[in-house]
């Protein structure tokens, strides 16, 4: 068997809220192979976002081990984690998180800019991605001039800019009406079909059913894993 893409062992993440101690992740073991699509479900506060943040190197574990491509990330410093985020992960958030003063093209270019891709090359790549998500006509618009669905398309294009192997989506359709949400989901499942590893937090059973693997969290622990 090949090395798993992602391997979590006894992952713990603890938050202190005043005198309270909250186990956002309370000993999670998880193995994800490259090219799989995962849905993550669970009640609010069950630790879904925390899990995604830890996997995406935005957050650190308090204990346990996280191996990406067989390499432990424990030794990486802040710059090292930034580099991993830049090259290996694409993030898609519930509230889009575009930079308001940049236009569509510039937002898509942002990861290329930090990856020090040449300006003309970055511009061409961003235009290709804008076309891919159906926003070729809106390149010079600011986020505030776009609908929610359009903004989320920009976010998807941006997440794909550096062609990362893993796409993380935290309730990507949570702020969209169901019709627009379906279009966004089609876009994401297209990516999964093209070989990207997709991890997606959702409350929608039907969407979860389209994923090959389904994870359920409860109070920071894995309540169940189902595979097709």
């Amino acid at each position: 068997m090949s090395t798993p893409l992602i391997q979590l062992r006894q992952a713990r993440r603890v938050y202190h809220r005043g005198a309270h101690v909250v186990d956002a992740l309370a000993g999670v073991d998880l193995t994800i192979q490259a090219g799989e699509s995962w849905s993550i479900m669970g009640a609010s506060g069950s630790g879904k976002s925390t899990l995604l943040n830890v996997l995406g190197c935005l957050d650190r574990l308090d204990s346990g081990d996280y191996c990406l491509d067989g390499q432990s990330l424990a030794a990486l410093d802040d710059d090292g984690l930034s580099a991993v985020r830049l090259q290996r992960f694409g993030f898609i958030f519930q509230s889009f998180h575009l930079v308001p003063q940049l236009n569509v093209l510039e937002n898509i270019e942002l990861p290329l800019f930090y990856a020090r891709v040449e300006p003309e090359q970055a511009r061409r790549r961003a235009q290709d991605l804008a076309r891919l998500v159906g926003l070729a006509e809106r390149c010079s618009h600011r986020p505030s001039q776009l609908s929610g669905g359009q903004q989320q398309r920009v976010a998807i294009a941006r997440a794909l800019a550096n062609d990362p192997p893993i796409v993380l989506a935290d309730e990507p359709t949570g702020n969209l009406d169901s019709h627009t949400g379906d279009q966004i989901m089609d876009l994401l499942f297209d990516l999964a079909a093209q070989g990207k590893t997709l991890l997606m937090v959702t409350h929608n059973e039907a969407l979860a059913a389209r994923c090959r693997c389904r994870l359920t969290l409860h109070d920071g622990q894995i309540a169940g894993v189902a595979r097709d």
């Binding site: 710059d79 830049l86 993030f91 930079v99 308001p100 003063q101 990861p111």
Partner: protein, 428 residues
Amino acid sequence: MTRVPAVVLQALMRDVRLGFDCLLLHGLRSLLTMLGMVFGVASVIAMLAVGEGAGQEALEQIRQLGSDVIVATSVKAVNEEKRRQSVSMLSVYGITYADAQRLQQTLPDLKRLVPLKARREQAQAHGQVQDVRLVGTTADWFALVERPLLAGRRLADLDEQRASLVAVVSEQVARQLLPGTAVIGERIRIGGVYYEVVGVLRSQGQAAGAAKAPDQPDDIYIPLSTFRQRLGDLYMRRMAGSSIRERVELSQLLLQMHSESTVEAAAAALEGMFRRFHKQQDVQLHVPLALLRQAEKTQRTFNLVLGSIAAISLLVGGIGIMNIMLASVTERTREIGIRRAIGARRQEIVRQFLAETVVLSSCGGLIGLLVGLALPWAISRLTGLTTVVTWFSLLLALLISMALGVVFGLYPALRAARLDPIEALRYE
């Protein structure tokens, strides 16, 4: 590898552009923030301009007379003036031949002592009449006041010994009194006596715009001994109703010291001597070196005042910029979170905010530069001080404003970079 500089440049360009966007987005806020920087930079430029101007003015005075020279001039004392008005009687005042001799013998470190008798007279030649300043002096004059000789020779010691009837004229006199002649060898009549012109000098008095210059454009120089013999010390002139009658032995003494360091002591000695031997205050001392010291003092005062204004303005301006950048970091917490989540390293966040601060402070610096050009002009108009704005001062002012952008932008930028990405993303 060769691609890296271009990419870094692009990154910087984008940061700078983003800085301008932010600046324009909060136009009024940015402008108010920049005010401190504007005044600070303007003060720096004004300070340097006054300093440069004072230096040049002092140097111009030194150039005219030399820093090792003291000038003593005979003046009518105030009470003498009153007496003359009440009764039409003889007024006697000024430097005496005895003064000159005493100084020549007793003043230590004296290099040259040039006595001078000067009087307004009418000069005639070839039917032309001209009002001139007739100067009786010695050969030393020409050694001390170095003026270019245009033709002929200067006065010599022999002329003094023989009390020869020779004259050296200034260029202007030669042109107006002896037009179309060879000048040298021509004869000029003054007070019924004929003098042979032996030389022509280029004068610099007045032309250089300085009343401090020892010569005038309408000067005619004859030997001092000749002056005493032919014209004497008594001066009479009838004017409407009353008449001027005065006796002045020497109108001026120029004293040149061997070194600058003894000038001030010599000036003090001179003052003491005149106070002792003259019953009235009828001699005025003029010390170029003291003028230089005065100019330096003025410059120091301006430096202190403008320097304080500059320092305080720049400090306040810098703090204002820091304040606005801290506010900006807080406002844009989410943007910082987004950039970090995408993969921006801390140093890239630092660079972005530093670039913005420097854009802000440099814009303030540029406006300050314009104000800084106007300020010295206004100072010149109001105080009469000479001011000179140099390129160096403009460059320095701009560099200061940029450097302050870095200094005061560093803390907000570091704070932005230290934000936790997740917290920043969640910030409303």
